[in-house]
C-alpha cells in the first residue's frame, strides 16, 4: 500500500514536471516586455523636444529626470504615458495654435483649397443619396459661392429622386424594355408635334390595369391622323411589353406612371 502511494506520488510529480517543461503557455508565462516599452517612450520625448525654445529645456530636463526615475523603478507604461501628457503637451499645443493662426493670416486661399478638397473627398467617399443633403449643409457653412451652386443642383437632384421614385437604373431598364416593343410608324412627318402622353395604372407585377391617352381629344380632331397613328403605336408597344419592368419595391410611388412617347428624335434621324 505505501509502495503504491509512493509510485503514484512520483508518477504525478513526473507528469507535472513534464507538463511544466513541454506545454508552451506555461513556458511563456515568465516572459515580460515592459522595459522595451519604456525605451520607446524615451525616444519620442527626445525628438519632440529638440526644436523648442530654451525655456522648454528646463522642462525637458525635468522630464528626463522623472523618466529616468520611472525607468529605474520599472513603472508600468500606462503611468509613463500619463506623465508625458501632463508635462509635454502644454508647449506643444500652444505652438500648434500659433502656427495655425500664422498660416491662416498668410495664406487664406490655400486654406480654402484644402477645405474644398476635403469636401470633394468626402462626397466621393460617402456617395450615399441620403447623406447628400447633410454634406451640402457642411459645405455651405464652410465654403464660398462656387460650391454653393453645386450644392443647389445636388439638392434638387436629391429632391427629384425622392419625388421621382425611380432610380436611374430602374428608369433605364423600363425604357430599354419599351424601346424594343415600340415600332415607330415610319410614315410620320418629322416636323409635327409627335408627343403622345399615356398614363398607366399598374399592378405590382408590372401588368397594366388601365391605360389612358392624356390628349385623347386630339385623336379625333381633323388633320390629326398622324397623332392617332402614333398614339395607337404607343398603346401597342405597352401591350406587347407588359408586364413592364418595374422596381420590385416602392409600388405606391410608381403604381401610376406616365409614359411620354416622342418620335421626333428617331424620325429626324
Amino acid at each position: 500500500m505505501p509502495q503504491n502511494l509512493i509510485l503514484s506520488f512520483f508518477f504525478h510529480i513526473s507528469v507535472i514536471l513534464i507538463a511544466l517543461v513541454t506545454l508552451p503557455f506555461v513556458a511563456k508565462k515568465p516572459i515580460d516586455i515592459p522595459p522595451l516599452v519604456s525605451v520607446e517612450l524615451i525616444q519620442i520625448t527626445d525628438k519632440t523636444n529638440i526644436p523648442f525654445a530654451p525655456k522648454a529645456k528646463k522642462i525637458i530636463e525635468k522630464v528626463k529626470k522623472k523618466k529616468e526615475k520611472l525607468v529605474s523603478d520599472q513603472a508600468p507604461p500606462k503611468k509613463v504615458k500619463k506623465e508625458k501628457s501632463e508635462t509635454i503637451p502644454l508647449p506643444d499645443q500652444e505652438i500648434e495654435k500659433i502656427k495655425k493662426i500664422e498660416t491662416e493670416k498668410q495664406n487664406p486661399i490655400l486654406d480654402d483649397n484644402k477645405a474644398k478638397q476635403v469636401s470633394e473627398f468626402e462626397k466621393k467617399e460617402l456617395f450615399d443619396p441620403n447623406n447628400i443633403a447633410a454634406l451640402i449643409d457642411k459645405s455651405k457653412e464652410n465654403f464660398a459661392e462656387t460650391t454653393a451652386k453645386k450644392d443647389e443642383i445636388t439638392q434638387s437632384q436629391d429632391q427629384s429622386m425622392k419625388l421621382l421614385g425611380l432610380t436611374l437604373s430602374e428608369e433605364d431598364a423600363l425604357k430599354a424594355q419599351i424601346f424594343g416593343c415600340w415600332s415607330i410608324p415610319l410614315g410620320l412627318p418629322y416636323n409635327d408635334n409627335l408627343l403622345v402622353r399615356i398614363k398607366l395604372k399598374l399592378k405590382p407585377d408590372g401588368t397594366v390595369i388601365k391605360s389612358e391617352i392624356l390628349d385623347h381629344a386630339r385623336m379625333n380632331k381633323p388633320g390629326q391622323g398622324f397623332y392617332k397613328v402614333l398614339a395607337e403605336s404607343a398603346l401597342r408597344a405597352i401591350q406587347i411589353c407588359q408586364p413592364l419592368r418595374v422596381p420590385t419595391t416602392g409600388y405606391e410611388k410608381w403604381k401610376d406612371l406616365q409614359l411620354n412617347f416622342d418620335a421626333r428624335e428617331m424620325l429626324e434621324g
Partner: protein
C-alpha cells in the same frame, strides 16, 4: 380666419400633390421594324368563285385580292405581311370574329379580313382592319364595282389600310406612265406606255414610229404631255388618254422640250430653245397664250411648279455649272439653291411642298437626292452608274426613277429599268415592267 384656413388647405394640397407627383418616363426611341400584319385571304363562297372563273377566268378571287393588298403593303417597307401558312384561323370565321389570341400568337399586330360576293353582275368586296393587341376593329369598308376592276379594289383597300395605319394618304390606286424601250441602243424603239403602279395592266399609247420622251400626267390623270420628234424636230405634245387624240403644244419656231403641267392643270410649262439659248415658257391651254418666264443667255430647263403654283424650280447653267434655282411663278426673284460639288438637274417639287427631288452628277456617278426647297438638308438617296428623272408618288413619300446599264460599242448589253426608293433611302426596289423602261411619271390618286 376663413382666408387663413383656405390658404393652409391649399398649401397642404400643394404639398401632398408634390409628394405623390406622377412619375414620368420619356420614351424617345423605338425600333423601325416594319409592322407585322396578317392579310387573311378574303372569304369568297363557291358560287362567287365559279362566277369569277367563268366570266374573267380567275380562280379563288378572295385570295387574289388579298395578294394584291399584301404585295402593296410589302413594297412600302413599312409593313411586314406574315406568311399565310402560319395563320391559325380560316378566312370565313376570321372575318366574322377573329380569335385575337391566335393572331397575336403569330406576332401579328394588325389583321385584315374580308369577303367577296358576286351579286347582279357586280362584285361586292368588304374588308375589316383589326387591331390585334387591342382586340378591336379599326376600319370597315365595302366596295361595289364591275368584276374586271378587282385589282383596283385591292389597290383602294391598300390605300385605306395604309392611311389608317400611317396617317398619310396611300399611293396604290395610281398609274405610272413611262417610255417603253426595245432593241439595241443604237436602234431603240420607244413607245409611251401606261401601267398600274405595281406593274400590271400595261397599255401602249403610241406605236413607236417616233421617238418619245418625258411623258407627264396632268392633275386629273386624263391628259399627258410629252416630247416627241416630228420630222426630226422635237416638239411638246398633248395626248388625251381616253380618246387617244394628240396635238402639238404651241407654234414655236424652234425646239420645245421638258414639259410639265401646272398644279391646276391649266398651263404647261416647258423649255423653248432657239439659237443655242434655252428659256422657260408657259402656255395657257384655254386661250393658248404663251408667256416667257426666264430671259437669260444660259440654258434654263426642267421647270417644275410647287404644289401651290406660286414657285417654279428649274436647272440652269447661268453660274457656269448646271445648278438648281427657285423663282416665283412670274419669273421674278430667281435664287440659286444648290451650291454643292457636281452638277444638279431635273428638279421636281414634292406634292407635299417641303422637298425638291433632283439628279446629281458628281465624279462620274449619278445620284438621286432630295433637299429642302431652300437647298438645305441635301440627302442623296441612291447612287448608280447612270440614273435620273425622279418622279414623286402622290403622297410625297416615294420616288420613281430609271437606271441604265453600260453597253458595248455596238449598243448591246444595254438596259433601262424603273426603280423606286422611299425617303428613308433604305427601301429601294425595282419596278417590274414588260419591256425596258425610262422616264417614269407617277399619276395622282385615281380614286381621289
Amino acid at each position: 380666419m376663413y382666408k387663413i384656413k383656405l390658404i393652409s388647405l391649399l398649401i397642404v394640397i400643394f404639398l401632398t400633390s408634390n409628394v405623390h407627383a406622377l412619375i414620368e418616363v420619356d420614351i424617345t426611341r423605338g425600333n423601325l421594324n416594319p409592322l407585322p400584319i396578317a392579310v387573311s385571304a378574303l372569304h369568297s363562297d363557291n358560287e362567287t368563285n365559279d362566277k369569277f372563273k367563268k366570266d374573267i377566268k380567275i380562280d379563288n378571287i378572295g385570295d387574289k385580292i388579298s395578294s394584291v393588298i399584301e404585295n402593296n403593303l410589302r413594297t412600302t417597307g413599312l409593313f411586314n405581311p406574315l406568311e399565310k401558312k402560319a395563320f391559325l384561323q380560316k378566312p370565313d370565321v376570321a372575318h366574322l370574329k377573329p380569335r385575337f389570341e391566335d393572331w397575336s400568337l403569330i406576332k401579328a399586330q394588325a389583321l385584315i379580313t374580308g369577303k367577296v360576293e358576286f351579286k347582279d353582275d357586280k362584285v361586292r368586296v368588304e374588308f375589316r382592319l383589326w387591331d390585334v393587341l387591342a382586340a378591336r376593329e379599326m376600319l370597315a369598308l365595302a366596295f361595289t364595282t364591275v368584276p374586271n376592276n378587282w385589282r383596283r379594289i385591292g389597290h383602294i383597300i391598300s390605300d385605306k389600310i395604309y392611311e389608317r395605319l400611317t396617317g398619310e394618304k396611300g399611293y396604290f390606286d395610281t398609274r405610272i406612265i413611262y417610255v417603253s424601250e426595245k432593241g439595241p441602243k443604237t436602234k431603240r424603239i420607244k413607245k409611251l406606255a401606261i401601267m398600274d403602279q405595281d406593274g400590271f395592266n400595261t397599255k401602249y399609247l403610241t406605236l413607236g414610229n417616233e421617238l418619245v420622251l418625258t411623258p407627264r400626267f396632268n392633275p386629273t390623270n386624263q391628259m399627258i404631255t410629252y416630247l416627241s420628234y416630228f420630222k426630226n424636230l422635237p416638239r411638246v405634245y398633248l395626248l388625251d388618254i381616253e380618246t387617244g387624240i394628240q396635238e402639238v403644244v404651241g407654234d414655236f419656231a424652234g425646239m420645245t422640250f421638258a414639259p410639265r403641267f401646272s398644279p391646276d392643270g391649266k398651263k404647261i410649262i416647258m423649255s423653248f430653245a432657239k439659237d443655242g439659248n434655252s428659256d422657260i415658257y408657259t402656255m395657257d391651254l384655254e386661250n393658248r397664250i404663251v408667256e416667257r418666264i426666264t430671259n437669260h443667255p444660259s440654258i434654263d430647263t426642267s421647270p417644275s411648279y410647287s404644289p401651290n403654283g406660286k414657285y417654279i424650280t428649274f436647272n440652269s447653267d447661268r453660274s457656269g455649272y448646271q445648278q438648281i434655282y427657285v423663282m416665283k411663278s412670274d419669273g421674278s426673284n430667281v435664287k440659286r439653291v444648290t451650291f454643292g460639288n457636281g452638277l444638279y438637274g431635273t428638279p421636281v417639287w414634292s406634292p407635299r411642298g417641303d422637298l425638291i427631288a433632283f439628279t446629281k452628277l458628281h465624279k462620274g456617278k449619278f445620284y438621286i437626292g432630295v433637299m429642302r426647297t431652300d437647298g438645305k438638308g441635301e440627302r442623296l438617296l441612291t447612287e448608280n452608274y447612270y440614273q435620273e428623272a425622279p418622279s414623286w408618288s402622290p403622297n410625297g413619300r416615294v420616288l420613281i426613277f430609271y437606271r441604265e446599264t453600260k453597253s458595248n460599242s455596238e449598243g448591246e448589253g444595254f438596259s433601262a429599268t424603273l426603280w423606286s426608293i422611299d425617303l428613308t433611302g433604305y427601301n429601294e426596289r425595282q419596278v417590274i415592267t414588260e419591256t425596258d423602261a425610262s422616264d417614269p411619271s407617277w399619276s395622282s390618286l385615281l380614286n381621289n
